[in-house]
Symmetry: C2
């Protein structure tokens, strides 16, 4: 039986997750939904992020997916638990795979996390890490400007360097050896972040980790056997499909063919 | 008869407009609605900004206002015309007052405008200016990062200076003598903008201009006679009232007492 994965994100950031899934699970159909009419989720309340996430899942279910990836850290932090309670479909967020990977990498048991205001205020990463290993120290910092800088393509600017450095300095002082990029936009700023933290700090990109978990899940279910089938990829947004296609190319690493619009408030 | 003005904005930026209205029309009741569940409007499509604006106006009408100020440049640019067609209530946007003021100030007939991607791509300022004086040259530039920098309070940072300078350099080369701050967030960055453009370029802050127009309107109607009455101010948002109160203080210049939440999708 063919597998069909639904991915949703507040906008284009989740495309970094989609890119890894396309790469690791080429024989799977994927539907991506970006809530471009209401992004970003980072600064919003838990209540409204839950409401939006429920609508997004109902839309993906209407497209007959059989697995849903919450490719948005804020939605994973605020909504995943409620979504799992409400819907009878396997759901995977980005927080747990990122947390697990960081635990695997850290040697001195001091992990840093950066993310949106919502993700950091939810303490979802520290909670997920401490649930597995209570002896690990987690240092978290909200970096609200990085989403805008990544989306505007300010990847190699001095101003971006100064802003990122300001955000990371307090974490580096805590002697962390692992840093979770707790927002799907941040992999675009990986080069600058690496320059600032140096080689001694390992960066954890949840996108890679989630794709590995998914591959394991579908392999165990025997759903990756049709090696010759090339999965189809569909893209939906709630606003401005042309702009999504244009900016999204930077996030996905390749051209986005056709983007359809859906009225998400109706779900 | 008491006057009751409704103001809506995508979020908190319109509070710079509210502040001027409170100051110039102290005897008027004001209801402010900030669409914090769906801000910012700047990067969104004309279609969705119109849809959101219609919902915002319907909410304000349910609160029995008798005048509506569209205190958001993007909504003024994309939705004002449609709103005027649909609703039988006086409506004023921020674009026209800003354009008129710039025409009054310019001597060399070369005006610059900065704003969100939406406002700039709509060409609403150039159109409004050229409608009054076709001989004026208008140079426009979208500055998508400034909203986030203003909201995060990065007002006096070197990174902000570098980003603003990058945005303004091409406009300054055009020998403008007047610059319209075509986004309600930008007055917070006035100091940095002044440092960069110098004293020879006059900055136009639409918030002040709109308050003057409103005062004239209500004076002509004889609605500002109750000098002893102190207008009441009400604040509504579509998400995160506490955060609105906290960040909004910087924009309004004083404490925001009580903020109520409304479900804007229902309007």
């Amino acid at each position: 039986m063919k597998a069909k994965i639904g991915i949703f994100d507040s906008g284009i950031g989740g495309l970094t997750v989609a890119a890894q899934i396309f790469k690791r699970l080429p024989q799977v159909d994927v539907i991506y939904f970006g809530d471009t009419a209401r992004y970003p989720y980072g600064p919003r309340s838990d209540e409204i992020v839950r409401k939006f996430s429920f609508q997004n899942v109902r839309f993906l279910l209407s497209e007959k997916v059989d697995f849903i990836v919450v490719a948005c850290n804020t939605a994973s932090a605020f909504a995943l638990k409620s979504l799992k309670k409400e819907f009878d479909i396997p759901l995977l967020g980005v927080v747990e795979p990122g947390a697990k990977a960081a635990i695997k990498y850290t040697k001195n048991k001091r992990i840093g996390v950066i993310g949106t205001v919502g993700t950091i205020s939810s303490s979802s990463y520290p909670k997920a890490i401490k649930k597995i290993d209570g002896s690990i120290k987690v240092f978290a910092r909200a970096c609200p400007l990085l989403v805008a800088l990544a989306e505007e393509g300010h990847i190699n600017r001095k101003a971006t360097y100064l802003i990122v450095k300001d955000y990371l300095k307090p974490l580096m002082r805590k002697d962390i050896d692992t840093l979770i990029l707790g927002c799907t936009h941040y992999p675009l700023l990986k080069k600058i972040i690496s320059q600032i933290v140096g080689k001694k700090i390992k960066l954890v990109d949840s996108a890679r980790e989630i794709a590995s978990e998914l591959k394991k899940h579908f392999q165990e279910k025997g759903r990756l056997n049709q090696r010759k089938y090339k999965g189809e990829h569909f893209f939906f947004v709630s606003d401005a499909p042309e702009k999504f296609a244009e900016v999204g190319e930077r996030f996905l690493g390749k051209k986005i063919p056709k983007v359809k619009k859906t009225n998400i408030e109706n779900y």
